[in-house]
């Protein structure tokens, strides 16, 4: 039985050759790039200083938001009379109109911004990848119908759809994540479908089919793994976009209701004090958003560049 399984296992020439190289066996004639593709990608990624900066910023943001509150204790629950205090002793970044410490609020608010960013990226990517891979792999009429659906949704700007949905369903954190993911799966679907179209005619996919591999196996084991680069790059941008879109929704007053904090909501409150010159209600939250979004965009760009390098060296 196990022998049969071995025989049925699909043979990916590249993986096979790499396995040999890893064992120190020369893969005949022209040698493959030494080291796995992953290593090569990682190497190129780490050589890119901006990428390392981006990664550092993301880690810093995660540590700041999730570990910060354990070391910097603030009252983010009950309102006080110490409202709109400028930065000073006890409040490094001042307090807001409810008397909450701004630095502490940045940490708490960042948690929901990051949670939304990551969850949206994961849900949207999983759904989009499945949609695109199936459409691209099956082709024909199924592909046409599935992609026209994507086109129709793409014609309506994400933010408008979100504003509508947010005004129909009064948002909770989970609902917002689902709704934002529900309008964000379109670009991964398109990208993966494009990849699937080109991958499904490759020799190794044909080989799997000849050996009796089913469609599900081809999609899950060959098409998706080979499109993983594009998928990861897109997912990184998804995180950035979700954080931005959440900020805009909160700014427009359609985000999470008051007790919950997030960076966009903090800005939305701060706007009322622009004329009073309370800069600490505008700049910290703004810079937090920009730094996080820049970080994810840098990482996405860098991964894309390293994938291109991989393709060039092939």
């Amino acid at each position: 039985m196990s022998e049969l399984d071995d025989l049925r296992a699909p043979i990916d020439p590249q993986q096979e050759a790499e396995a040999l190289v890893d064992k120190g066996v020369p893969a005949g004639g022209e040698a493959f790039e030494t080291g796995s593709q992953f290593k090569l990608i990682l190497q190129t990624f780490l050589e890119n200083k901006l990428a390392v900066v981006g990664l550092g910023l993301v880690l810093a943001a995660v540590i700041f938001c999730f570990l910060g509150p354990h070391f910097y204790h603030t009252n983010q629950v009950t309102t006080t009379y110490n409202i709109n205090l400028p930065p000073g002793k006890g409040h490094p970044l001042g307090t807001d109109q409810n008397g909450y410490d701004v630095l502490g609020r940045l940490m708490v608010g960042g948690q929901s911004s990051l949670e939304i960013g990551f969850s949206v990226a994961i849900i949207a990517t999983l759904f989009g990848v499945a949609w695109g891979a199936v459409a691209g792999f099956l082709g024909g009429i199924v592909d046409t119908v599935m992609m026209r659906i994507v086109d129709a949704f793409l014609a309506i700007p994400t933010l408008l759809l979100l504003i509508y949905l947010a005004s129909v369903f009064h948002p909770t954190l989970k609902l917002l994540i689902i709704v934002i993911a529900g309008v964000s799966w379109l670009s991964p679907a398109r990208l993966v479908r494009g990849e699937a179209l080109s991958l499904r005619v490759r020799d190794y996919v044909k080989a799997v089919r000849v050996m009796g591999g089913g469609s599900r196996r081809i999609v899950a084991r060959h098409i998706v793994p080979n499109a993983i680069g594009t998928i990861v790059v897109n997912a990184t941008f998804q995180v950035a976009d979700a954080i931005l879109v959440m900020a805009v929704l909160s700014y427009l007053g359609l985000g999470l209701p008051p007790p919950a904090a997030n960076w966009g909501g903090m800005l939305s409150d701060g706007v009322n004090y622009v004329y009073a010159g309370y800069w600490w209600l505008i700049y910290p939250a703004g810079f937090a958003i920009i730094l996080t979004v820049v970080a994810f965009n840098l990482i996405g760009d860098a991964i894309r560049d390293s994938l291109e390098v991989r393709l060039q060296r092939r």
């Binding site: 014609a155 700007p157 933010l159 759809l161 129909v168 950035a240 427009l252 505008i282 958003i289 920009i290």
Partner: protein, 315 residues
């Protein structure tokens, strides 16, 4: 070319039907359905039932969709009970003002992005290239409302150079009459779209510079100026035609945000107000309009591409 056009137009019609289906679904997503969109959130069940019967909303969904589609084709986008006007009438009044805002920002950003992108491509990896790339990267990662706020703080609150609020008025003439109020909203929107245009222009120019005909032109001994403007620029501009069409949704999105930051009396501000007052008929009307605009914009961009670049036609 004709075959390409026919196929492309047919595709757009299919997508437009898709957009109308989405609009139909969105209307029915409301707890209470279209009746709630029309009568508002506090409509009594009896009023909803009467309304549904009177307007045929108790018929099968397919019939309802066909009726809905018929209304759309006649330009009937529903009735806003909040503003007590047909949605199409509201839009006819508001859209030109938004077109003024978004259109001038679009033109300005393209005019700025082209020379900047070309310069970056020619002096690749120079100081200007790095600076421009960083600036556009930063602008790209910035929430547009925050950029607007910063401009307000810098130019309205601290220095009083420009007013913080857009000119108020119900006609386009009243808006143009106060151009100083337009500066900050247009500048915000221009910066936002410049960020993506300059990135594309740069890579498009780099690609064009690497082509054989540029080498040929150099070999012929043409001047740098002739090569850049006669040979490179014309080819590098082709993708920009598509980009302008494709960027319509994001421009409109940014327009919505900018309009609410500067209280600009246009469609975007209406949209946000409609969302907070739960004026679903107006929301849906604007969504359908933007959807149609986007599809038509993409179609025009593709046609422009095919006209400008003969290689596309034979694919």
């Amino acid at each position: 070319m004709t075959a390409y056009l026919i196929r492309r137009v047919f595709q757009s019609i299919v997508v437009l039907i898709g957009v109308s289906i989405i609009g139909f679904i969105l209307e029915h997503l409301l707890p209470g359905g279209p009746a709630k969109a029309m009568l508002g959130n506090r409509a009594t069940p009896l009023a909803i039932k009467t309304f549904n019967h009177a307007n045929g909303f108790d018929k099968p969904l397919v019939t309802q969709y066909l009726v809905y589609m018929g209304h759309l084709l006649q330009g009937n986008l529903g009735y806003s009970y909040k503003l007590n006007q047909p949605v199409s009438q509201i839009l006819a009044r508001e859209v030109p003002k938004s077109v003024l805002l978004v259109g001038s920002a679009l033109i300005l950003s393209v005019i700025i992005a082209i020379p900047v992108g070309v310069f970056q491509a020619v002096r690749r990896n120079g100081i200007v290239d790095y600076a421009a790339t960083s600036i556009s990267f930063l602008l790209y990662s910035m929430p547009s409302f925050w950029l607007g706020l910063i401009l307000i703080i810098a130019f309205a609150v601290n220095t009083h150079i420009f007013p913080a609020q857009a000119p108020q008025g119900s006609t386009i003439g009243q808006i143009i009459a106060h151009p100083s109020g337009l500066v900050l909203p247009v500048a915000t929107l221009t910066l936002v779209s410049f960020a993506s245009f300059s990135r594309y222009m740069r890579s498009s120019a780099i690609e064009a510079l690497a082509q054989d005909w540029i080498r040929t032109a150099k070999a012929k001994g043409l001047s740098q100026r002739a090569i850049l403007f006669k040979h490179m620029l014309r080819n590098a501009l082709i993708p920009i035609a598509t980009l302008v069409g494709l960027s319509l949704p994001s421009l409109i999105t940014a327009g919505v945000v900018v309009e609410s930051v500067f209280n600009f009396p246009g469609t975007g501000l209406d949209f946000v107000t409609a969302a907070t007052t739960e004026d679903f008929a107006l929301l849906l009307g604007i969504i359908i309009l933007v959807g149609v605009l986007t599809v038509v914009g993409n179609l025009l961009a593709d046609i422009a591409y095919a006209v400008l670049d003969p290689r596309v036609r034979y694919k």
